[in-house]
Amino acid sequence: MSKEPVAVVGIGQTHHVAARHDVSIAGLVREAAQRALADAQLTWADIDAVVIGKAPDFFEGLMMPELYLADALGAVGKPMLRVHTAGSVGGSTALVASNLISSRVHSTVLTLAFEKQSESNAMWGLSLPVPFQQPLLAGAGGFFAPHIRAYMRRTGAPDTVGSLVAYKDRRNALKNPYAHLHEKDITLEKVQASPMLWDPVRYSETCPSSDGACAMILTDRAGAARSPHPPAWVHGGAMRSEPTMFAGKDFVSPQAGKDCAADVYRQAGITDPRREIDTVEMYVPFSWYEPMWLENLGFAEEGEGWKLTESGVTELTGDLPVNASGGVLSTNPIGASGMIRFAEAALQVRGQAGEHQVDGARKALGHAYGGGAQFFSMWLVGADEPAS
């Protein structure tokens, strides 16, 4: 039996900021969920199940928060699933929700991811205590900086490429009202003069710490037919994982990322991603991950990713805009960041991205990764219903 096609008919985000002191955790998630319902012109009663995701529970000091959030998300009397796959969780959560529909277990599912990082200090929350990790690894940047160095050495990319990514993403964020950072006076010189945090990653090449939530309403073909706005159709979705550390692991271009992309492209019938995909929302928490993922995802040959960035191909006006929303570099409620990528990809093919809309976007890739560059989740969404 073939799978039921899955459509995104509602998308809602909070205005991401450093600290939402004005709302509780329940208030934060409810805000995103209600915006998604309003977009789909549906009510709580139309939702069959809720799938929620977030990164480590220590970020809010709340164990398995879905239990407490059941009421706020209208889940009482319904199935509620809680996904946690590290930084990729926002994407994985959407894929778990999508499977509930493609398997025909449910017709309409609310999926949501959030992080309220102002409740704690995310950098130290991510820094595992000895003996789980060697000392001196402060935050995710400390973990990833050496792998960025390895990429630079391997490809001979000029030192400035990272700053170009950051400068682009922060300017894109100015066109996205939901983005956390709106640096109106940003210049390339300012990015390049910002303090060095984890060599070679400078302060302005690093993601912020945000409070925010993102929600989507996914539905089946019949639900899509009732949608007041054009839906985004899921053409393919996949997750891949590999261990954190092992002899032979390629931290620069992990095999799990390549395999995950290949699976998604196979499902979606994509043979030349560079030509066939119109825009990408990829998980770039540190600027250099743009060229690294461009290669890992098959948009550039190995060693060539930085050339796409340097030549402006990934600019909003380029022919493969990357992170038109401003990306993780401008907004990072960690558990929600993957879902924001998936949702922004869907907004693009629905033609609803507003000022940061990529002209004529018909197919878009949403990408997330987590852990020690070991967990990957991706989906490809299109403006047209997939050929079954």
Binding site: S24, M64, L67, A70, R82, V96, V105, M239
Partner: protein, 351 residues
Amino acid sequence: MPPARDVAIVAFAQTDHLRHTDELSEVEMVMPILHQVLSQTGLKTSDIGFTCSGSTDYLAGRAFSFTMALDGVGAWPPISESHVEMDGAWALYEAWVKILTGEADTALVYAYGKSSSGQVRDVLTRQLDPYYLAPLWPDSVSLAALQAQALIDAGDTDEPALAGIAARSRTSASDNPHAQLAGARPQGEYLVRPLRTGDCPPIGDGAAAVILAAGDRARELCERPAWIRGMDHRIDAHSLGVRDLTDSPSTRLAAEHAGVFDRPVDTAELHAPFTSQEVVLRKALKLDDSVSVNPSGGALAANPVMATGLIRIGEAAARIHNGTSDRALAHATSGPCLQQNLVAVLEGEAQ
């Protein structure tokens, strides 16, 4: 509506459940049982279509605790994999849905918990409403005691009846080589009135693993597969003040959707860490004395938090595998006072 594909549990393994496992990391605890379910079926890691696990960072006391467990799976080449911050029963649910989509034909599910790393009664208070309830630190035994007292006040049970549940469960556990508390024992002193030590689960560490397979693949891998005829889960409101603690509407609703009431079951494995919670579940699931309840001893005999629910499903499946059950119910719970509940119906083909 019946599930889109026939999916069965074809293998189940669990650790011996122990009060302390200081000498074992989570990986070391999980790896032997992963090897057991693989060897039961003759499958290799690379044959598995999807892997899903359940655990919580709050037991381990560190973020991303599940990532290291992947080393036990041997996720190389990379695997299609997911994780729920829930009891492993819900990981099994996610894996079941994955197989229903047709994207996988087999799945490996595992769950683990090391309660010995901290004070589990205190740890579980952190899953309560952080603004109104958690600051009071009401621990899991105290909340269960509130529920037990409500049941006694409603005339649904009394202390001798609860003692009977405790004795029956631990007597049953005499036949369970993995149980932490096997054999009847005195009810002991009140821990939190009206609950005595005997009404409460042991605190311990353990893990479990299950392999799922679809259709003919299941028949190849297992002599008598435990077919999942239906599975559903529901959640109740969180605030205890808005709930009738003597009832479990979410359990009943899940059971209806899983098809429990279509035909009688002969066996039920219930995830009731406290004797009083078995009373609630029996009522919600309309189980009479003809049903064999918790022949494994249930959570009163071994309660490795995050794996206990998956073990209920595994124990029910094992009884179908060995022919002692033809239609079994398995139940898992999460949250204070049975807030969230999952129900599965398993069947064996005619013998």
